[in-house]
Amino acid sequence: MAERKTIVIDPVTRIEGHSKITIHLDEQGQVEDARFHVTQFRGFEKFCEGRPFSEMPSLMARICGICPVSHLIASAKACDALLAVKIPPTAEKLRRIFGLAQVVQSHALSLFHLSAPDLLLGMDADPAKSNLFGLLEKDPQLARDGIALRKFGQQIIERLGGKRIHPAWVVPGGVSDPLRPEDRDEILKAIPEALTIAVRSIAWFKGTMEPFREEIACFGNFPSLFMGTIKEDGGLTFYDGKIRLVDATGQVVAEGLDPRRYFDFLGEKVESWSYLKSAFYKPKGFSDGMYRVGPLARLNVSDRCGTPRADQELAEFHELQRTAILSSFHYHQARLIEILYSIERLEQLLNDPEILDKHVRALARPNSLEGVGAAEAPRGTLFHHYKIDEQGLIRWCNLIIATGQNNLAMNRSVLQVARRYVKRDKITPGMLNRVEAVIRAYDPCLSCSTHALGQMALQLQLLSPQGAVLDEVVRS
C-alpha cells in the first residue's frame, strides 16, 4: 500500500506575513485535507495591558505597515467610547478620508503588486518570473498604474497624518490637526488621474477573466455567509454603520446588528495548528457559521456604493451571479470597484464645505470603563474592544481582525483548490501556485491578525519518517 504524504508550501509567497500550507494526500494520492497555517505570532492583545488608553491608537497602528490607518481608526473609535464623546463632524469626515486613502493604497498593493503577476502571466508561469518584475516586463503601464494608485493613497495619508506608515494623527476624540487648504487642493488635483487609472484598471481586469473560468469555478467557490458594514440606506461604508449578513443565495440573514455588540453574534475558536483564530457567526455555530468579510463580502451585502461610477460597476458586478457572488476569485474585481468608490467618495468629502473646519477634537476624561470601536479595514470588518481601570490603564483588550474572520473560508478554499489541481502522480509549480493564489485572493494580513496570548495551545510532536507520533508535548 502506498504511504500517505504531505505536501508543504512554506512559505506562502506574495502575502502579508508568514504562513505555510500543508496538503495531506491519502494512500491513493488523493487530497484528503489541506490547511493554511499561520506561523507567526504578535501578541498585541497582551502586551498593551497596563498602558494608558490614550496610547492605544498609536500602539495599535504598529500592528501593520499596510493598514495602520484601519487600526488607528478602530482604536480611536474604541477610545471615543471610553471618553463617551461625540466627535466633531469635521473630525469624522477627516477620519473617513484617511480610511479611504488607505483602501486605495492597500488594495492597489494587493492587486497590482501581489496578485497581478498571476493574472497577467498566468497561473502556470515560471515562478521565477511571476512577480512584480515579470509584470513590468509584460505590461509596464499596468505596473505604473499600480504604483500611481499606491502613491495617490499614500500621499493623502502623509499629508493628513504627517507620514505614510504609522501616522498618529487619529486620536481619541477626533484628529490632532485640521486639514490645511493647500493639502485639500493638492489632493483634489490628483483625483482626475487616479479616477482614470481606476476606470482603466477595471476594464483591464474584466478583460482578463475569460482564461480563468476554471479558477473562478474552484477558488473558494462554495456557499458561505458574507458580512459587512452598511449605511442605513444599504450603501457601502468603511467608517460607520450597522452589520449585515447575507447567505449564499443573497438573502439577508441578519441586519441592523450593532458592531459594538459584536460578541453577541460572533464567536472565535482556536485551532492547535495555527496562530490565527477562526471567527464564526454564533447563531449557526462553529463551522456552519463560516462567513467571509472584505471587498467581496462588502459588495455582496451592499445595495449600492453611493457614487456614480462605482454604482455602475457594482450593478455589473452583481450580474455575475444571481445569488451572492460566491467565488473568492472575484475578490480582485471587488477590490478594484472599492478603489473606484474610494476615489469618488474622497472627492465628495474634500469638497464638503465643512472639511476645513478647525474644530476637530473633543476633549474629555474617561467616562466609561469599556469601549468598542469598529471599522471596515481593506480586508474586512475590524473590531477593537478595550476595558480600562479607574486610572485609564488598559486591563483587557480584544482584537477581531478581518483575516481571522476569513480563516475558515481560506482553509476551505485551499482544500477546494488542492482537490481540483493537486494529484500525487504529478505536482507542478502551477498547481501549487494556484493553492497559494487562492489565499492571495483574500489578501490576508497575518501581521494584523495573530494576537491572542494565553489562549494559544502549544503542541509539539515528534514524528517518525512514516508519520507516526513518537512523542508529544501539549501546553494548553
Partner: protein, 157 residues
C-alpha cells in the same frame, strides 16, 4: 546642478539598523537645497518613480556584515538579474524599475554603514555613530563630483 535624491533606509527601532536615518538628518542640514533627502523603512516600488526624476540617487543603509563602523561605497546600475519582490526591494531593483517603467537611469551609489547591534532599541553603538561623519563626507563628494575618486567600487571608506 544635478537633481539629487538621498534615500536613507532601515528600521530606527532596531538600533544600528536605523543609523542611516541619523545620517539623513545631518544630510538634510548640510546639503544644498536641490538635494532631496528621505527616510524610509524599506525600499518599495513607489521610490522608482521618485528616483526617475533625479540625476543622482544615493542609497544609505546599515549593513550587518563588515567591521562595525566601516563605510562601504558601491556604484550601482540597473542590471538585469534574478529579481524577487515580496515586501521590499534592493537598490538595484529600484533602479531596474526606474529604467523599465520610467526610462530613467540616474547615476546611483550605495553607501553602507556596518553596524554592530541590531536589537530592539533607538540608541546607536559608538561604532555606528563614528561612521556618520564619513558618510556625510562621501555623500557630499559624490554630489560635488561624481563617485569619490579615492574610493574604488566596493572599497571601504
Amino acid at each position: 546642478m544635478d537633481r539629487t535624491l538621498v534615500i536613507a533606509y532601515g528600521n530606527p527601532l532596531r538600533s544600528d539598523d536605523g543609523v542611516a536615518w541619523q545620517a539623513a538628518e545631518e544630510l538634510k542640514r548640510i546639503l544644498p537645497s536641490p538635494a532631496h533627502v528621505i527616510c524610509v523603512h524599506q525600499l518599495t516600488p513607489e521610490l522608482a518613480e521618485l528616483a526617475s526624476g533625479s540625476d543622482l540617487v544615493i542609497f544609505v543603509d546599515a549593513a550587518s556584515e563588515g567591521h562595525p563602523g566601516s563605510v562601504l561605497c558601491q556604484r550601482l546600475s540597473p542590471e538585469s538579474g534574478k529579481f524577487h519582490f515580496s515586501h521590499h526591494l534592493t537598490p538595484q531593483e529600484v533602479l531596474v524599475m526606474c529604467d523599465r517603467l520610467y526610462c530613467a537611469k540616474p547615476r546611483a551609489f550605495l553607501v553602507s554603514i556596518a553596524g554592530k547591534c541590531f536589537d530592539h532599541g533607538e540608541q546607536f553603538t559608538p561604532a555606528a555613530m563614528i561612521a556618520i561623519p564619513r558618510v556625510l563626507s562621501v555623500v557630499r563628494r559624490a554630489i560635488e563630483g561624481g563617485f569619490p575618486a579615492a574610493f574604488e567600487d566596493g572599497a571601504a571608506c
